[in-house]
Symmetry: C2
Subunit: 371 residues, 2 copies
Amino acid sequence: MTTEFDKPIKEPPIDPWGSILIEDYQRMIESFGLEPFDVGAFPKPNRLMRRGAVFAGRDLKQIAEAVKLKKKFYVLSGIMPSAEKVHFGTKMVVEQVSYFQQHGGKAYVLVADLEAAATRGISLEEAQERAMNFHIPAYIALGLDAKKTTFYFQSENKEVMRHAYEFAKKITLNEFRSIYGHADPSRIISALTQAGDILYPQLKEKMPGIIPVGVDQDPHIRLARDIVHRTRSTHKFWLPSSIYHKFTPALNGEFKMSKSKPESMIELPEDMASVRKKIMKALSGGRGSLEEHRKLGGEPEKDMVFELLKQHLVEDDAELKDIYDEYKSGKMATGELKQLGVDKMEAFMSDFSKKLEKARKIAGKLNFVKF
Amino acid sequence: MTTEFDKPIKEPPIDPWGSILIEDYQRMIESFGLEPFDVGAFPKPNRLMRRGAVFAGRDLKQIAEAVKLKKKFYVLSGIMPSAEKVHFGTKMVVEQVSYFQQHGGKAYVLVADLEAAATRGISLEEAQERAMNFHIPAYIALGLDAKKTTFYFQSENKEVMRHAYEFAKKITLNEFRSIYGHADPSRIISALTQAGDILYPQLKEKMPGIIPVGVDQDPHIRLARDIVHRTRSTHKFWLPSSIYHKFTPALNGEFKMSKSKPESMIELPEDMASVRKKIMKALSGGRGSLEEHRKLGGEPEKDMVFELLKQHLVEDDAELKDIYDEYKSGKMATGELKQLGVDKMEAFMSDFSKKLEKARKIAGKLNFVKF
């Protein structure tokens, strides 16, 4: 039986809990044996797909086919309710989930209350309350169709726990280490639960499924896929597919926004006075002087505000192209681009806050799985 | 902070899932840092305590004091509902639980349905059904006061799972390995859940507790005790006490009855024709011929039928003394001792079956914790 483990790993494994800088997405595709994302394979690609933020996947063909032939498939994501806010990475995940939901996927969103409770020392009730009051409304505000989504709390899903126990028997410590780069009891129990989550929608009905993730989450996908191979004789699960988006770069140009550096990131929601300050300080692709800028033109590729517009704030491709051209030609000054960023961000935050308010009212009436 | 790990382990760790032969209980006391059991410390000691089947413990003083001063304490045990039958080891555990229950301990019995489902590939429902139809009635038939016992299913106890997650963060893989002798994902998730079970009664109210176990289960006790040290700042748990009984020797004289050798063990219940055959073939302390036996006397210490009478089938000390003396002197022949064993076993099995029938009727009405 061929398993994921038969493929030699060229690079040290990525640590989904850590914050390793990953500088070369192309190298990751090669090292982890991912498929480059083919934007032509999916109908009406969303902004993230069109702009290259979505860059790779695993077994995407079975999902593209399910979309095309209107066959059953699922899309799944998890909420970690320990965080007080969400961030632009969360926004990407939700946009991807929404895309597949709109294209026929049955959406599952689980609340990782067990993990949150263990990590933050809060009670399960508190974790669940946070999810209900903020995270789920935020997902809805970011585009999730809540009425068509199945939600559950990890701690209440006996079937997930039961399968985490079963899957534990199928994997050795060394295999775990080869996937995650290290192994400790906490990560093991957590990863096995996540494998249970990833395969949960298939317990009742076997079907392909897609998990949109940042590439740092790939080990979870690999573990789940390997468990599918190992449980072939009892479960006959479809291998879960995955689709990877790049990180939103930090405002100072570093690889990834990081919670440990608040000045590098913008949270959702965040006070506009604070956002404005951060945008004004962000790494710019503008030149040293206005004169030089007019002459040489700006460098949108190196500009973090342009990056934000591209990844998150400008939906229309033609509009983005205009901004790019004007900045690149030097016609648009750095200050103007930053102001545009502030304006767009303000409109986005205002819209998000309104939607969040509305979503809070409906979060209590959702389709939670009862166990 | 002093932890269990600070004490050097002189012997390789015992594997509670394996079947290592442990030949010298005295050596175990020394190697594992156990306290020898002091029969004088507990009021009205039961048969197992009086006959030396109970031989060691950890932190028994806090339990003896709770018994004496009528302070709150708990006694806890688990049911593994994958097995079709129980055996004499189970009988010992239940008798110990009953002893502490009768002496003021609040009894908790959990059903390890998650583990059973993972081990045997049965559904949680099936595991729970087996527990309700057989294991819990068997515990009641063996002396548990069901009305005064709190039962729960592991899979339904969110608090146990939540704490298993929390405890996972307090223990490294190396520490786990030093306790269990090895570490793999399945054992880790299972052991952490058991630590959650052992400490569960203290989540609502801190109190001493005692876990009666065979010595092969000591690693679970050590893990739970170590977690108590590590979570001192948040939980202030009492260190769980433990009390150890010897194994019932195999009928052929080997150290321990073993399921892999059906001829070495008697199950509960078991057909009397089969039991009779096994007893007749059991290792005897009788002499080569009746003449020699009359002259030299039997060796009850080496006789497995006498061992069964002593550990399980003769409650009255004076009666046992008479049997010992008659056999030792040669007055009682080997065949007579075996027949006595068969008769006593028949009475026991008949009584057990009747009690089991009755207990089945009340098992559905028990005090299960609802989550």
